[in-house]
């Protein structure tokens, strides 16, 4: 059991690195889907007291949502908008990878100085959780497209969820399900919003949101109304 959990933890760390270095929106969506699948398998192996019905149901729900539904939603909004298919950056993939290496090292340190009163004994769990959360935050601030910010948000949520898997008793997994539903609604609404933004402004670059004001003024002038009156 311990071996399988380490393999899953290592593969989640690797998917974080892949997310940091991804060059295409489509591949970023696929990577986040793989990460979701790995996360979904995690509760089956972490809790040593065998498979309960509750755990299996949670695992299936998480795999369905994170591995299948979210990527499909994102793929659909990617398909429906006319945007560049490559990821545009504030911080390039190479520098992002270096940042990732630094974050992984420092989250190892955090794992040492912030030990949790846990009995599970998965020593890489805390660094992995920190790393995934910070990777998600970093993706949100360092990528230009709104779609990548959704993916960063998903990675962030994946980190939070893993934290719950490792350190909650199986009863409080109920909270996790509640959060999961919130995230589902969140991703759904964000997908719709991104679609509308891209249809209205022809792009989903977060850096160009300042043009929003000009666009609004132009609309008023076109309508022949003085904004003062």
């Amino acid at each position: 059991m311990h071996g399988i959990v380490s393999v899953i933890v290592v593969s989640i760390i690797i998917t974080d690195f892949l997310l940091l270095s991804a060059g295409w929106l489509k591949s970023a969506i696929r990577i986040v889907a793989v990460q979701g699948l790995a996360l979904g398998l995690l509760p089956l192996f972490v809790h040593q007291d065998g498979l309960s019905f509750r755990l299996t149901a949670i695992a299936i729900l998480v795999i369905m949502l994170k591995g299948i539904v979210f990527p499909r939603l994102l793929m659909r909004s990617l398909r429906e908008m006319n945007t560049v298919r490559t990821i545009t950056y504030y911080v390039g993939p190479m520098a992002s990878l270096l940042v990732g290496i630094a974050v992984l090292s420092s989250s190892l340190w955090w794992g040492y100085v912030l030990p949790l009163p846990d009995q599970t004994g998965y020593r890489l769990a805390i660094p992995m959780v920190f790393f995934t959360i910070v990777t998600g935050l970093f993706l949100i601030v360092s990528r230009r497209q709104a779609l990548m910010q959704i993916i960063g948000y998903l990675a962030l949520e994946n980190g939070v969820y893993t934290f719950g898997v490792f350190f909650a008793q199986s009863e409080s997994m109920l909270i996790e399900i509640g959060i999961l539903l919130d995230v589902f609604v969140g991703v759904y609404i964000m997908g719709v919003m991104v679609f509308h933004i891209s249809r209205e402004f022809d792009n989903i670059e977060a850096g160009q949101l300042s043009t929003l004001k000009d666009w609004f003024q132009n609309r008023k002038e076109l309508a022949g109304k003085d904004p003062e009156s």
């Binding site: 071996g3 290592v10 760390i13 690797i14 190479m94 990878l97 290496i101 992984l104």
Partner: protein, 304 residues
């Protein structure tokens, strides 16, 4: 006193069989592409042809230019003395020889780069600059990978850390990550396809090949032979890491495993080369940093 003949046999084997590896790669690629391909011994023919020729030296070059291929070859042969093969320690084995190996590779690279700069050709300078830039990323990756293996096996010698990981080590996962890293380094250091296309002679894209454009005749032969030996050296490292625990097995099983590995690795490289295109030059450092991240992860797994 009983003299162990095996390291000598391995060294001779490496010196004789190394050019065969590129033949295997080329034959695999030819079969994948539906061609018959060049003879599997083509590299030997090329070497003999080049060694019979005379060399041409530009008047702008100094003795450093002539020294380049010789020191390169000498450093790589010395490196081969250190690398264990088939579970048997190398010709020379002592604590810390993995550092010596990394520095020997660095020495070889330094002289090839200096010889390239010595010609004063802008193309070769460009190649030298690329080579040095990539080696900045390759060397820490190699060191981190070897360090994690050395920590895992509590040994500072190459003969202690290779062929010793075994099944228990594989469960932790660090040797698997290091093996992945070493495969990337194998491709990068020997200028195979995701990094550099050994077939192209377009100056804008070449890395290793562009540095040796001015070498001719026997000098170029030495360069080719040196790169064949380097292919063998990295192959032996990879096969050693990617190995079950063979310390208990008999001599013939170990030899058979290592030789099979040395043949299967070029076939894998041929398949990789047939199935993907060269990376854009800008993407190469990214892949190398990714390999570095993997070996850092291996180190963390071992340290934690």
């Amino acid at each position: 006193m009983k003299i162990n003949l095996l390291p000598i046999v391995h060294l001779v084997l490496a010196m004789v069989a190394a050019p065969l590896l590129s033949g295997i790669i080329n034959r695999t690629k030819a079969i994948m592409a539906g061609r018959r391909g060049q003879p599997i011994l083509q590299a030997y023919h090329d070497l003999f042809k080049l060694l019979r020729k005379g060399a041409v030296y530009s008047r702008t070059t100094s003795s450093l230019f002539r020294l380049g291929p010789i020191v390169n070859l000498a450093a790589i042969i010395t490196g081969l003395l250190l690398v264990p093969f088939a579970g048997c320690p190398g010709f020379i084995a002592f604590d810390g020889d993995l550092v010596v190996l990394a520095y020997l590779l660095g020495l070889a690279r330094f002289f090839v780069v200096s010889a390239a700069l010595d010609t004063g050709s802008s193309f070769e300078g460009m190649g030298a600059s690329r080579e040095v830039m990539f080696s900045i990323l390759v060397e820490p990756t190699l060191f981190l990978g070897l360090f994690s293996l050395s920590r895992l096996s509590h040994s500072l010698s190459l003969s202690g850390i290779l062929y010793a990981s075994g099944v228990t080590g594989w469960i932790i996962g660090a040797p698997a990550l290091v093996a992945g890293t070493l495969f990337v380094l194998y491709l990068a250091e020997n200028s195979r396809i995701p990094f550099d296309d050994p077939l192209t002679h377009l100056e804008l894209t070449m890395i290793h090949e562009v540095m040796v454009l001015d070498h001719s005749g026997p000098d170029f032969g030495l360069v080719l032979y040196g790169s064949a030996l380097k292919l063998w050296l990295f192959g032996a490292l990879f096969v050693g890491v990617f190995s079950p625990d063979l310390t208990e097995a008999g001599v013939w099983i170990r030899e058979g495993y290592a030789l099979a590995g040395m043949v299967l690795l070029p076939i894998a490289v041929g398949i990789v080369e047939s199935s993907m295109a060269r990376l854009r030059l800008l993407k190469v450092p990214q892949l190398l940093v990714g390999a570095g991240a993997l070996s850092l992860l291996a180190t963390i797994l071992v340290l934690g």
